[in-house]
Symmetry: C2
Subunit: 463 residues, 2 copies
């Protein structure tokens, strides 16, 4: 994970230059707006209102236009289709005109004096002539950026020359940081499209889907922003998945670590990798709702800057679809390398383990059922031949629930409340895993108990 | 662990012969008497009473004489001293006469017609002439066996020719089983001294200390005993260590698996390895008190033969002296082989890990503080260089508590009760580990909370 390296860059080298920079004098805010906040003219006007009322918002990162209604298509999806059609030797005329009409309708709605005809021609030609899949996809952000810059009266900066990837496709944090810094300091206000950068050979390379969040984070780091605002269509992170818990509370403050431990949520509010560039730079992220700009949102901060937890539990995340391999072997605890060899057997099938609870003569390996899929028998065979267990069984249908909160260290009795809640709901606990971080308790329950358990735990802490 | 292999021997091969054996016709009991049950003449009379009233007790395994009073010396310890003195070229006359006088006083007290002078001379001479350390130690059981056989009117069988070890010192279960069976079937009633057998070159080899328990188990297996009675000076296994819990209840029935999971108890009631020979043969062990022969004792059985648990918790065992290495690394969950490499680093220093609780970006390794001792820095360095964590810390002073019970599967809410009890006692839980066996919950607490936590949990389940 190379974005981590940016986070770990020596602060001194960065700071030495930046302290003399235009950004050090006043508080700069970087604001990223998601596709659902930029899907039509109405959205653009809201964004302009948000950006206009805070002059500290100097750098704006747009996504490509998202869905305007449930059955609508995202522009990025249409662009991928254009690429596929072009690769298959088919005409992209019709598909591509659907894309351009999306932009034209925004321009018309906004009433700005902007003609993208020439851009469209170039892009259409490039998609037809080996500019590549990433190039096609990236044009969603590129075009949206041009429109937004024009509408806001900001400079437009194409990130391709500044956000760099290495030949192996891995993001280059250090080069990017200095190139981006050098360019951004020339602009007072600018729009930088999200999602993409370029390869050493000049071709376009995108981050993984949702990667505009990463661009925002990289820009925030480059200008040492006071805050990275991530504008989306929800009021922030919720304490739990609203499909499971009815009307969960919004989290007001969460630490980067808590957020990671809640990653089972996979809610898609924020790209998982986007936290790293800003994390150790001490730049907080705030998740805000474009549709309710006055809502407080969720503030994501480092441990050091985190206020004392207002609640014991920050969030609860859970996921079905885990399998348990249970291994029994008398005296396994005296066999040096027993656990290591079990993990090695799994690793040889290129599978990651989730948890490894162990007793004296028993060891359980928790794995993603999907991930083991057809490797199931091979994994069991490998374990058998390497550690010769007395018995080995595999069982599917486990759900994992992570109860996460930095408030747990101080609030003794958290485990007691978790297990009281599940006991009262008549739920059988199949696995428990809590390490010394005291940041989380992870429990395993039968999938059929998943919803009940999540609700029981949530209600225990939020009654 | 080679005793396991005996346990795993194909039942068919054993049964084919043994079904035609004298032992298959009636119920045979093997009784082992510990050193504290055979330290003086009074003890010998009690043993005779116990053996006499049950004609099914056909094979008796004695330990060497134990302490008669608190400051007394065990005969085995004196014999080790004889060996040390002899090796150092010192005279063993005085030491050895203390040993022989112990036996002579028993013989005198019992009033039996037995003169061991010739044995003493041979043994003394052998200790002086390279018979070895194991030989010296084993003579405690050997001489006690001769006296007991004479007193009970049983045959005396020296186990040396039948209990065999390989050249590498590892016990040979299969050869032993058939040699022992062939010899024992010739005897209706016999005493077989515990603790030792012989090497391929004819020298004496002992099991580890307390190994008479193993001899008893091997004999019980060889004759397919209906039960293996292990007579000692306690009423059976206690639910918890009486040095920690005031007057704990005696366990009436425990399974082999539960016993293993409680091995932190290390109470020394029964040699850890002695359960394997009888375990899969389905031969139960019963722990009985020579001083209260009518007390029910503790029955140790296999899962299949276990009665439904009368209590949720079978026992609680705990131990101080653990250290926690806490590792944090962003995105560690996506690094295939992360956990394996951590365990490998520890294994390279020849250390076994106890538990490995993990979150998303956090992993804790629980290790014995004693075992890591001077390897501490090397282990941390190895982990650092192999997985490059963001942070790594080590903390001592952890106590582990295992709450064990086959009754936990049915009794939902056990975890809730454990954590309610500790929460009410104001104890901070630093680690939790429960696998899918649902046989135990292991918790980590600060050493300063150990006694309080043990008592709180015990009282919760035994009020």
């Amino acid at each position: 994970m190379n974005l981590r390296e940016l986070a770990n860059m020596k602060e001194e080298t960065l700071m030495a230059d930046k302290n003399k920079s235009p950004f050090s004098e006043d508080s700069v805010i970087v604001a990223k707006f998601g596709g659902s906040s930029l899907s039509n003219g109405e959205h653009f006007r809201r964004v302009k209102e948000i950006v206009s009322r805070d002059p500290r918002i100097r750098f704006v990162i747009p996504s490509a236009p998202g869905k305007r209604f449930d059955d609508d298509e995202k522009v990025t999806d249409m662009l991928y289709e254009c690429y596929s059609a072009s690769s298959a030797g088919e005409s992209i005329d019709e598909l591509f005109s659907t894309v351009t009409s999306r932009y034209d309708s925004i321009i018309e709605d906004l009433g700005i004096d902007l003609d993208l005809t020439e851009e469209y021609t170039h892009i259409r030609w490039a998609i037809m002539h080996h500019a590549g899949r990433d190039y096609a996809a990236s044009r969603g952000e590129y075009l949206n950026g041009i429109i937004l810059a024009s509408f806001l009266g900001f400079d437009f900066i194409d990130p391709a020359p500044y956000i760099k990837f290495a030949d192996d496709g891995v993001f280059e944090p250090e080069i990017t940081d200095s190139l981006l810094y050098a360019e951004l300091k020339k602009h007072e206000y600018a729009v930088i499209p999200g999602f993409y950068g370029s390869m050493p050979n000049g071709t376009i390379k995108t981050f993984s889907r949702g990667g505009s969040d990463i661009t925002g984070s990289i820009v925030a780091r480059a200008v040492m922003a006071s805050v990275y605002e991530n504008w989306t269509d929800v009021d922030g992170f919720l304490m739990a998945d609203p499909r499971i818990i009815d009307n969960p509370r919004t989290i007001s403050t969460i630490t980067y670590k808590e957020l990671r431990e809640l990653s089972y949520m996979g809610a898609g509010v924020l790209h998982e990798e986007s936290i790293f560039p800003v994390r150790t730079a001490g730049i907080p992220i705030v998740i805000k709702n474009t549709n309710h700009p006055d809502a407080k949102g969720t503030l994501i901060v480092s441990d050091i800057n985190a206020p004392e937890a207002a609640t014991v539990i920050t969030g609860i995340a859970g996921k079905k679809g885990f399998s348990v391999i249970s291994i029994e072997k008398a005296m396994m605890n005296t066999e040096t390398g027993f656990g290591r060899r079990v993990l090695e057997a799994i690793e040889k099938e290129d599978v990651n383990f989730e948890h490894l609870p162990s007793g004296i003569d028993t060891m359980s390996v928790i794995l993603s059922t999907d991930e083991i899929a057809e490797k199931r028998d091979r994994i069991l065979n490998r374990i058998c031949s390497t550690v010769e267990p007395d018995t080995i069984t595999i069982e599917d249908g486990l759900a994992l629930i992570a109860v996460v909160g930095r408030g747990m260290v101080k609030a003794k009795g958290t485990a007691s409340r978790v297990f009281k809640a599940t006991a009262e709901a008549n739920i059988n606990i199949k696995m428990i895993d809590q390490g010394s971080s005291e940041l989380n308790i992870i429990i395993g329950v039968d999938e059929s108990d998943f919803i009940t358990a999540m609700n029981a735990i949530y209600r225990e802490f939020e009654k």
